[in-house]
Symmetry: D2
Subunit: 437 residues, 4 copies
C-alpha cells in the first residue's frame, strides 16, 4: 500500500470516529437543503474531528446529487455563503474614513467569503482534492447559463491556484512499466490524437518515444497534464509518420517532437500547469539523451478552417488578396485534397493564409489561436507550416491538413519569451518570413 493511500485510509478512519457525533436525524428537508445545512455546520463548526466527518459527509452527498440538484445547491452556496455586502460596506466605510493597516486587516477578514472556508474544509475530506476538482468541473459547466456563479468560481480558482502551486507538482515518466491504472487514464485523456487501444498506447511508449506527466501529491493516480514526444531524425512535419505507421525505433533520432499535449482535469481549467511542462521535459530529455539537439512541437491549428471559410465569405478581407481568395475558394470543393492539381494551386496561398491567421489575427493583442498563444508565450518560435501535415478527416476539416512546428530553441527561448511579454513580438523563422512575403 503506498503512503498516500495509507494516509487516505487514516483520514477515513478519523472521519468514521467523528461521524458518531453528527446527529444526522437533526437534518430535514430535500437533499440539497440537507446538504446546505451540513455545509453551514462545516464552516461554523470549530471542531476538527467532527469537522472531518462533516467534510466527508458533504463531499459524499454532493457527489450523488443529480446535475439539476448540483446547480440548485451551487446557486444556493454562491448566494448564501458569498460575502455579506452590507457588512462589508460598514467595514469599508470605516476604512475609507481612516485608511490604516489595522482597518485594512479588518476589511480583509470581512471580505473573505464563507465559500472559501467551505472549500478549504471540504478538501480535508478523504479524496477531498478530487472532490473539489470535480465540483469545479460541474461549476464550469454551469457558468455560461448562470454567470452569477462566476464569483464562486473566482474563489475556487484562487484556492486551486494556491493548492496546485507549480512547486508542488511532480513530474513522472510514463512508460510501459507504469501502472495500468494510470496508463488507462492516458488513453482516456488523450484528446489531440486518439489512442485507439492498448497496442496503440504501447507503440507510443516505445524506445523512440517519451511521455511525461505532472501529478499532484494529493491526487497521486491522476495525471494533470501530459505530453507525448517522438524522437525523430529532423523536424517532422507529418503527424501520420508519428502515429499511424509502424513505430520505427530510430537510434539516430536527433530531434524531440512534442506531438500531443493534454490537460486531463477539466476542473483545473485556467489553473496554470502547463507553462513549466515543456521546458521541464526538454531539460529531462537533454540530460537523458545527449544526441537530441532540437526540440519542436508538431501542433494542430484548431479554428483555422472556420476562420478561413469565414474570411472567404466576407466581401473584403484584410488578410487575403482577391487573387488568393479566388484560389482559396477551392477548399469549398469536395475532396479537393485528393486532387493533385488543386493541391498544387492551393498550397502557397493556403500556407500564407495560415501564417497570417497564426500571427496577425489577434484578440486582446495576443494570437487568437490558443495553441499559438501558448507556445509563443513559452518562448517558442513559429518554425514551419506543414502542407498535408495531418491527412486524417479531422485534420482536413479542422485546418485543411496543415500542421505547425513551434521550435523550442534553448538559446532563444528566453529572449523570445521576453520580447513576447514586453511588446508582443512573435518569434518567426526565416521560412515563415518568406511565406509572408
Amino acid at each position: 500500500m503506498n503512503i498516500g493511500r495509507f494516509a487516505q485510509n487514516l483520514v477515513d478512519s478519523i472521519a468514521d470516529a467523528g461521524e458518531k457525533f453528527i446527529d444526522l436525524k437533526m437534518f430535514r428537508g430535500s437533499s440539497t437543503q440537507f446538504l446546505l445545512q451540513l455545509c453551514t455546520d462545516l464552516i461554523s463548526h470549530k471542531g476538527v474531528a467532527s469537522g472531518l466527518a462533516l467534510a466527508r459527509e458533504v463531499v459524499n452527498r454532493y457527489s450523488v446529487l443529480s446535475m439539476a440538484e448540483k446547480l440548485t445547491f451551487l446557486m444556493e452556496v454562491n448566494k448564501k455563503m458569498g460575502p455579506n455586502l452590507e457588512e462589508i460596506k460598514v467595514v469599508a466605510t470605516k476604512y475609507v474614513k481612516e485608511p490604516s493597516e489595522g482597518n485594512l486587516e479588518k476589511l480583509t477578514q470581512n471580505i473573505q467569503s464563507c465559500r472559501r472556508k467551505l472549500f478549504s474544509r471540504m478538501i480535508m475530506a478523504p479524496n477531498g482534492t478530487q472532490a473539489i476538482v470535480s465540483l469545479r468541473e460541474d461549476l464550469l459547466g454551469f457558468l455560461q447559463t448562470n454567470p452569477e456563479l462566476r464569483a464562486m468560481d473566482n474563489d475556487l480558482k484562487t484556492l486551486l491556484t494556491s493548492w496546485f502551486n507549480p512547486g508542488f507538482l511532480i513530474l513522472k515518466k510514463i512508460d510501459w512499466d507504469t501502472e495500468a491504472s494510470i496508463l488507462e487514464k492516458i488513453i482516456e485523456y488523450e484528446a489531440v490524437h486518439d489512442i485507439g487501444n492498448w497496442n496503440d498506447l504501447k507503440k507510443r511508449l516505445m524506445a523512440d518515444r517519451r511521455c511525461f506527466a505532472y501529478f499532484h501529491p494529493s491526487l497521486e493516480d491522476e495525471p494533470l497534464i501530459f505530453v507525448e514526444v517522438a524522437l525523430t531524425k529532423g523536424i517532422t512535419g507529418s503527424i501520420q509518420s508519428i502515429i499511424s505507421e509502424d513505430s520505427n525505433i530510430n537510434d539516430e533520432g536527433n530531434t524531440a517532437i512534442f506531438y500531443s499535449i493534454n490537460n486531463c482535469q477539466r476542473g483545473l481549467r485556467k489553473i496554470p500547469l502547463g507553462n513549466f511542462l515543456i521546458k521541464t521535459v526538454v531539460k529531462e530529455i537533454a540530460s537523458e539523451l545527449p544526441a537530441i539537439k532540437k526540440y519542436s512541437t508538431l501542433s494542430p491549428i484548431p479554428g483555422f478552417a472556420v476562420w478561413l471559410l469565414n474570411e472567404l465569405s466576407k466581401q473584403n478581407s484584410e488578410f487575403i488578396s482577391e487573387k488568393e481568395r479566388e484560389i482559396l475558394k477551392i477548399v469549398n470543393e469536395k475532396n479537393w485534397h485528393a486532387d493533385t492539381k488543386k493541391c498544387k494551386r492551393l498550397k502557397k496561398p493556403l500556407v500564407k493564409a495560415c501564417a497570417n491567421y497564426l500571427l496577425n489575427v489577434k484578440k486582446f493583442e495576443k494570437p487568437i489561436n490558443s495553441v499559438a498563444k501558448f507556445h509563443f508565450g513559452n518562448g517558442a518560435q513559429l518554425y514551419r507550416i506543414n502542407w498535408m501535415g495531418n491527412t486524417s478527416a479531422h485534420g482536413i476539416s479542422e485546418s485543411f491538413g496543415l500542421m505547425v512546428n513551434y521550435l523550442y530553441d534553448l538559446k532563444q527561448i528566453e529572449s523570445n519569451h521576453e520580447a513576447y511579454v514586453q511588446d508582443g513580438t512573435l518569434a518567426i523563422s526565416k521560412t515563415i518570413r518568406s511565406v509572408l512575403k
Copy 2:
C-alpha cells in the same frame, strides 16, 4: 534518486536556463537594495522561466544576508510591497457607494498585497518551500521588536495555512529502518525529553515504542511534527520509567503513552499541524496493535513552578488557602524533594494547586497552560497528576516534579471536544475531581 529530488533538480535546471536572461549587472547598490530590486522584478515580471531564475536568485541571496540585513530587507518589503492604502481607499469608496459583487471583486483584487505575490513566486524556486519556512522563522524572531511586521506575517500565515493544508500532509512511521538523515533530525528536534545520542534514539524506536511524523510533499526530508509513544502496562505516571531506564520490551503492553510531541519547524508556528496527529496515530496503533486499549499522554506542565512561586509571593491567592500556602512554601527550600518528610507534607496541596493551575487559571477563557489547552482542545480528559513524575533537575524546577496524564478515551473524545468548544467545559477524571475537593 527519489522523485522529489528528481523534480527539484529539474526545477534547478530550468532556473539555470532562465538565469542567462537576467542581467545581473543592471543591479546596483547594497545587497538588500539589490535584493529588493530583484523582488520587484520577480513580482512584476510576467515570465515563467526567467521568473523561476529570479525566484532562485531571491531565495539564494536572502539566505546569505546577515540578520541585520534580513531585518532591513523584511522591513522594506513590508512597507513597499504592502497594500497601497490610498489606492484601496479609492476602490473602497466606490464599493461603499455601490456595494455590488462587481465592485467587491475589484476591492478584493486591490487588497491583495504584493507581499503575497512575492512569497507565492519565491516558493516556486528550488527548495522554495524550505526558504519560505525559514524566512518566516526569521520574521517571527523580529516581530516582538518590530510589531509593524505583523501585517506581513499575516500574509505569510494565510499562505502557509493553505500550502500546509492537512489534506496534503503525509504520516510516516519513524523506526530504525528510517533514513539516518531523518533520524538525525528527530534527535535534533526533540525538545521535550532530550535524545542524547544514537543509542538513546534506538531505544526510543524499539519494539515497545512507536514514533510517527508528519511530512509535507515539498519538504520531504523534513519532519514537521512528530510524536513518541511508549507501549506500557497501564497508564505510566513516571517519565523516567520510559526514557531513563533500560527499555524493557513489554509484550503485554495494553496502553499507548504519548510522552513527547514536538513541532519541528519554528517557521510554521501557529500553522495548525498537530490537531490531527494524535488522533491519526491513535487510529494507526489501534489497527496495528489490537492489544492496546488505552491511550494517554504523559505531559509536562511548563509554567507551573513560575505561576506557583508567583502565587505564593502574593498577599492573597484565589487558588491557594492560607493553610496550603504555609506548606507550599517548602518548595522554596533547597533540595526539598530529597527530604521524604517535606515531600509527604507537600504532596497533597501541591497536586491540588497544580489541578487548579491547569483547570482554573485562564487566558481568553481557555487554560493558560498551552499543553493543557492543546489536549483539552483535542477532546482529551485531565486524567491524573503524577507526584514525582519527572525527577530530573528540569522536571523539579519546571513543575516541582509533577507530570500529567491526559487521557484520549475514544468513546468520549468527541463529546469532550464538543463540550470544550461549545462552552469551554474541561473534561476531568474522578481522581482529579477528588483532588480538587
Copy 3:
C-alpha cells in the same frame, strides 16, 4: 530505475570492459564451432572480468543461433563437456579400493561435468538467468528426439532447482496498479482460460478478484507462476459465472475460488515452484479478508474425454459397467449437450465415470490426471464434480463440460497431505463418496 536494472547495467559495463581483452579474431569456423570455442574458453578461463565478457558473448551468440544450430551446439556441449567416463573410472577404481572420505571428495570433484561449470558461468552474464531459462526451454524441446541430451538436462535441472530455491522467490499481488509490462505477460501466459484483451484482464483484477504471482529476484519482470482467484458466495461450480459474465463485485463473498494456475516459464518445467503458491495465497487472503472462510479451486479435467472415449471403445472397462456404457455412448452424438433429455440421462453415469477417472486411473500409483495429482499432493480434497461447469466448446470437448472443485480445508490440508504421501490415500468429500456408490 529500479535496483535490479541498475545492477544489470553495471554487469553490462563490466562486461564491456572485459570485452576489450577478448581477441575475437582468434576464433575461426562456423558459428556453432566459434561458440563452442568461446564456451571452452569461458570454463577454462580463470579470470573474472574477461570471463564476464565471455559469458555475455556466449549468451548473445547462442541467442541468435537458428534452432538447427542450437541443436548442433547443445549436442556438442553435451558430449564434449560431459563427464570424462575414463578419467572417472580411474578415480572410481581408487575409491573402490579404498572407500575413504578423501577418495570420495576426489571422486565428487571429478564427477562434476564441465557443463555445470559452463551454465554456472553463463548465468553471470547480463540477463544470464533469463538466458539459461531460455536455453533449457530449447533443450526440453530437443529431448524427445535426442534422448542423449537428458544427461545435460539433469545438470541444468540440478542447478535451476538450487537457483530457484523457494526461499528466494517473491510473491507479488497483481492488480490494476501493476506495471503494464507485467500485466501484458499475464495476458500472454494465461493458458487455462484465455484473457482476450485488456478489458478482460481488468475484469479479472477487480475488487472481487485477486491475482498473485511468484517472481525471482534475478528475473524481476518475469512472473514464474501465477494464480487467479475469484471471491464468490459459496463454492462456484461454473467457470462461465466467473469469466464470461459481467464481473459482479460481491461484497458478501465468503469463498475464494482458485480458477486458474499458470506456469509461465517453459524453461522451468519440473522445477518445483507451485507447491507453496496456493498455500501462501490462502494465508495472504485469510489475513486480508477475514470474511473469506472457504478455499477451493475450480479446475479443468484435461484428458478425461480422451480417456472416456477410449474406455468406451474397449470391449471391457474396469471402470464402466455395461449399462453405463450404453448411456455414455451418447457423448459420441453431435450436440448432445444441447439436448436436455440426453443430458438428463448422461449426468449421473458421466459424473461417476469422471470420479473414477480422477481417483482410480493411476500411473506410478498416482492419479494419471496431472491437475488431480497436483492438488492431492498439496493436501486438497476432491470436493465436487460440476455438471456443465464449463460450457465452452473447449470445455465440452476436453471433459464433456465437467469441472472439478478441489477443496483446501485449512484444518485437513496437512493430514490429507500426509495420508497422500505416506500411503497414497486420496481425500474425497461425502458428495464424491455418494457419486461412487
Copy 4:
C-alpha cells in the same frame, strides 16, 4: 513493509500451519538428539508444508544450542548424514565395470550426501538463509580442532557458492539517506579502519565520499561486503588525511581512493563476493562523476612487520642485504618513528623491504600478503609504498607505518589480470621499479 519481509511473514504463516501436524511429543532425549531426529525427519519427509514447519523448528532449535551442543550436533550430522561409503562403493564398482552415462548418473545420485539435502531444506525456513550463514560461521570456528568437519564444510561451500552466485547480488549505494539499521551494521562490520560513532560514520558518507555494498535478495538488510571510497585530489598516500582530519569536501577531486574493503559475513568466508565489487564500483563512480580520472586503493600491509622482524632475526635473508639489516634493526627501538633522524635512515631500506615482501615473498606461487594477492588478482598495479601512510599505533605495529596504493588503471586492468593469471606476472609502476633497484 517491504516485499521481502512480506514474503518472510508468509513463509512464517505457512510454517505455523504445518506445525500443527508435527507431533513434538514424539521426540525424546537430549536437545541435540532431539534436533537430530528433527533433521532426519526433515530430509526424509516428502511433504512441503510440514517440511517448512520442520525446517523452522530445526533452525530455531539449532540457534539456541550452546556452542558445545552445536559442536556435538554438527559432528553427528557430519557423520550420520555424510555419504554412505559402503553403498557408494557398490555403485562405484558397477560403474568401474561398465563406465556408462547411466551408471554415472546413479553414482552421482548416490554420492550426494544427506547433509546437502538437509541444508537445502533448512534454507527454506523463515530467515533460513541467515540461519545457514550462521551455521557455517559456527562450523568454520570448529574446523581447526575438528578437521573431520571439512567434508561437511565442502558441502556447505558448494551450496553457498551456488546460492550467492554473483548474478544474484545487488549493489546498493550507502549514504546518509540509508536506513539506520543498515548503517549500524556498517559501523559494526568496518574492521580495517574503525568507525568510532555515528558522527564518524556521517563524515565517511559526505559529499566527497562514496560507499557501496553488495546485498543478497534473501538477506536484504545484511551487507555482504562493502567498500569505502574517498574522492581526493591526486593519489593520497596517508590514511590519516582521509579518516582522522575534518572531512574537506573537495569539489576538485579527480581520484577515487578505495581505502577500506570489508567482508561482513564470516559465514561466507571463501565464497567469492569481492571480485566484482571494485570494478563495479569503478564503473558506477565513472558514470556518476566524470571528473574522476584515477582509481586507486590505499591499503594496509598486514603481516609485513611480523615478516620483517622474522627476517631480521634470521642469519641470512634472501631479501635483505647486510647493510640494510643494520639500518632496519632500528625498528626494534622504542618510538623510532618519533625520531626524525632514525626515520630518515630507515625510509629507503624499509620501503625496499616492503616492496620485496609484497612482490617476492610467495606461497603457492602467489604473493603471501593477502591484500596484495587480492588486488593483483583483480588486475591492479602496485603503484606506490607510502612512508608514514598510517601513523596510528596499529599502523606502526602492523607495517611500520607503511601503506600501499594499488592502482586500478582501466586501460591496463585486463592485461594485468591476464598476465597475472597466465604466468603470475605482478604489475608494478616505475616508482616501485626504481625502489627495487
